[in-house]
């Protein structure tokens, strides 16, 4: 075995080790994301229940009034705010998809076969995986702040 092939063996071992490390970290990050999503769902479920009870009380109060309740603007503001749960859940889902895509790329990198590896082919595969991931993530969430969205009638 010459020094060149020894070097390539070490490079392959390093790549395998790096791939395993990346995949383990991504797996842990995905678990954290799932837990974050569950906590968010649970918190918003409780908020929704409270909101519905408050809303029903307000509607009953409204029936007895001739003017609009001063609480109504706050209820409307709460409705806009609570919708960010839906947007946040979609963003968490996108992060999970990105991490899974990264994990697939790391796994593919570990498949290299030392000196026998066709590096041009490997590079092409990486580019294809990156492109496939971006295709899956094409739809971007535009909302950047807590303002309500646009309305357009055709």
């Amino acid at each position: 075995m010459n020094s060149s092939s020894i070097g390539q063996d070490k490079a392959t071992q390093y790549l395998h080790g790096l791939s395993e490390l990346i995949q383990a970290q991504i797996e842990a990050a995905c678990a954290d994301l799932a837990q974050t999503g569950e906590l968010l769902d649970e918190a918003v479920d409780q908020l929704n229940q409270s909101f519905n009870a408050l809303g029903e009380g307000l509607m009953q109060e409204q029936d007895d009034r001739t003017d609009t309740s001063p609480l109504l603007p706050h209820v409307h503001s709460a409705i806009t705010g609570l919708q960010f749960h839906d947007l946040a859940s979609q963003l968490l889902q996108r992060i999970r998809q990105r991490l899974e895509g990264l994990s697939e790329i790391a796994a593919a990198a570990a498949m290299s076969d030392g000196p026998a590896t066709d590096w041009d082919q490997s590079r092409q595969t990486l580019m294809e995986q990156q492109s496939a991931l971006e295709q899956r993530l094409q739809n971007r969430l535009r909302q950047q702040n807590l303002d309500s969205g646009d309305i357009e009638l055709f």
């Binding site: 918003v44 479920d45 929704n48 519905n52 809303g55 509607m59 409204q62 109504l72 209820v75 409307h76 409705i79 806009t80 705010g81 609570l82 919708q83 960010f84 749960h85 839906d86 947007l87 859940s89 979609q90 739809n139 971007r140 969430l141 535009r142 909302q143 807590l146 309500s148 969205g149 646009d150 309305i151 357009e152 009638l153 055709f154």
Partner: protein
């Protein structure tokens, strides 16, 4: 009372739409995706359909296309309520027959104003 079909796979979002429109005096029926909405639209006559785009089983654009093929819904207002905000998606909505496009999160007062306007 005008009846509105609210379609969204998010239960909390449906609740928000339901509460907003009921507070303005509308009757609201909920559906969790396009397939359920189409079944409801075939069995009941709604005055307006408000639908999300990204849903399991059937998305909003497909639902609108399907509804527009039914004589009963050829002229009924159908509004898209979605996080999708690109001009390309809006153009697709217009092409399949959407009446308008509302980007989430919605402001209840503005939603009610638009619903009033399209219902005449």
């Amino acid at each position: 009372m005008k009846n509105i079909l609210a379609v969204d796979d998010s239960r909390s979002l449906r609740q928000m739409v339901n509460f907003s429109l009921k507070s303005a005096g509308y009757g609201v029926t909920e559906a969790g995706d396009g397939v359920e909405a189409l079944e409801l639209a075939l069995s009941q006559d709604f005055d307006l359909v408000l639908t999300d785009q990204n849903m399991p089983r059937m998305d909003g654009l497909t639902l609108i296309r399907s509804l527009r093929q039914l004589p009963r819904y050829q002229r009924k207002p159908i509004l898209m309520l979605t996080t999708e905000a690109s001009d390309e998606m809006k153009a697709q909505g217009r092409a399949v027959g959407a009446t308008g496009w509302i980007v989430k999160p919605f402001d209840p007062e503005r939603l009610i104003a638009v619903v009033r306007k399209v219902l005449g």
